[in-house]
């Protein structure tokens, strides 16, 4: 039995197989509508995240499965002081697979060590969000037709932005990647990302302050929101929240085939006039999230693709 806790838990080969399955699901969703019949997904959300929870639930329902769970810690036994270890042991008796969102970093890993069912990390604090990484990679591959030899710009909160850390770590395994890290000094990417994932592989990267200067070189622009909940100090949040705002006018500096990604929700870092630009790919990400989560649930449950008769990879 395998879990998905860290974005690097799956090899690049395995991630690509998942994306292949997601693409097949996208082309013929009805072929997969009964694949997970009589299977149950538990969504254990210790902090509210309607978007991610509904994506997981939609994925399971699309596969013909059922869902149960709780939408925030207040209606779970966590409010009575139950440990994550105990909760997952109980849930293992009710469901076949679990997706866990938790404000504390490492909670899904802790759960996986006590679980009898596959655990999917649906986001743990400011740490990891591996299914977001998979859907980001799927979107990049669909837009660019490849996952190699790309220049990818990350813009905004690169310090607390877990989607950024996860995506950099994952894409650092691809050939010919180049990263441009656009952030204020206070929100620059943590040193360990650079020292342990970029420098050892001699992956070219630049840390810059100007979005406008970076835009012409990018194949992908990954925008992020400065998240209030990641700050202990409100003053710092207020000072930094408007650091970078992408407008349609600024997009004039970018290539015609660049794609703009964003993990959503956005606040004001992408203005509404960008939505109609063909380079805006952030709502495609949402749709791709359902497909990749369907592929993930199938694979972790060992369910065969009805079109190929095989699992994406053994778990």
């Amino acid at each position: 039995m395998r879990h998905l806790i860290d974005p690097l838990d799956f090899t690049m080969e395995e991630s690509l197989r998942l994306m292949d399955l997601a693409d097949r699901i996208r082309q013929d969703p009805t072929a997969y509508q009964d694949v997970a019949a009589r299977k149950k997904l538990a969504t254990l959300f210790y902090e509210p995240s309607t978007r991610t929870r509904l994506s997981f639930e939609a994925a399971m329902l699309n596969l013909g499965g059922k869902v149960l769970g709780f939408p925030d810690a207040g209606v779970s036994s966590a409010s009575k002081g139950e440990t994550v270890a105990d909760t997952i042991r109980v849930i293992s008796c009710y469901a076949d697979i679990a997706a866990m969102r938790h404000p504390k970093e490492g909670a899904p890993l802790r759960a996986s060590r006590y679980s009898r069912i596959p655990v999917i990390n649906a986001g743990d604090g400011g740490h990891s969000h591996p299914t977001q990484t998979l859907l980001d990679m799927l979107t990049i591959r669909r837009r660019k037709g490849r996952l190699d030899n790309l220049t990818i710009g990350f813009c905004g909160d690169l310090k607390f932005g877990r989607t950024v850390h996860s995506l950099i770590k994952s894409l650092a395994r691809c050939e010919g990647m180049k990263f441009i890290l656009i952030s204020p000094e206070e929100l620059r990417v943590p040193d360990y990302i650079i020292h342990e994932f970029l420098e050892p592989k001699n992956i070219p990267f630049m840390e810059v302050r100007s979005l406008e200067d970076a835009l012409p070189d990018l194949d992908i622009l990954y925008m992020t929101r400065v998240q209030k909940e990641r700050f202990f100090n409100e003053e710092d949040y207020v000072r930094l929240k408007n650091s970078y705002i992408l407008t349609e006018a600024k997009l004039g500096l970018a290539r015609e085939d660049m794609a703009v990604l964003h993990p959503l929700p956005r606040v004001n870092e992408i203005t509404l006039d960008v939505d109609n630009d063909p380079r805006a790919a952030y709502f495609e990400q949402v749709q791709n999230g359902v497909y990749i989560r369907m592929a993930l649930i199938m694979t972790l449950l060992g369910l065969k693709d009805p079109l190929t008769g095989e699992v994406a990879f053994e778990c």
Binding site: T83, K104, A107
Partner: protein, 142 residues
């Protein structure tokens, strides 16, 4: 000055930072050694550092994990004694994994709230320890 007999077969752990000898004693689980005699000397006068702690162990030392010392106090010297003579000096390696030796200080980490959750750190290729749960770095003090 307090005197402790020289040992014939065992180990002398010297130059321990004064005041930390008891913590080392517990981390090395010396209380669990079945047949060894153990002496802990605290605040011994030292020309080099003013004062220091020393641990002397007489008896079977084969089950002692000296690597934990490398993390805790790189200044420590470990001298093995056989038949009253210095047999060898041990230079401890940094352990690859520390369980409940240091605590994760990240308030966002699951270890901050989860009862019964071990604090586990693993050594990174760059010589730093990182919490397995939240990946928070814990820098080893020089």
């Amino acid at each position: 000055m307090l005197k402790v007999d020289e040992i014939q077969n065992g180990v002398v752990i010297d130059h321990i930072t004064a005041g930390t000898g008891m913590a080392l004693y517990h981390l090395m689980e010396l209380e669990k050694l079945p047949d060894a005699s153990v002496a802990l000397l605290q605040n011994v006068r030292s020309q080099k550092s003013g004062k220091k702690d020393i641990i002397k162990i007489e008896g079977d030392i084969s089950k002692i994990n000296f690597d934990v010392l490398g993390y805790l106090d790189p200044q420590i010297s470990i001298t093995c004694i056989e038949n009253g003579h210095i047999a060898k000096k041990i230079r401890p390696d940094l352990p690859k994994r520390l369980v409940n030796v240091i605590k994760c200080k990240n308030p966002r980490c699951i270890t901050a709230i989860e009862e019964g959750c071990d604090h586990i750190f693993e050594l990174t290729p760059s010589g730093r320890y990182r919490c397995v749960y939240c990946e928070e770095e814990f820098r080893v003090k020089p």
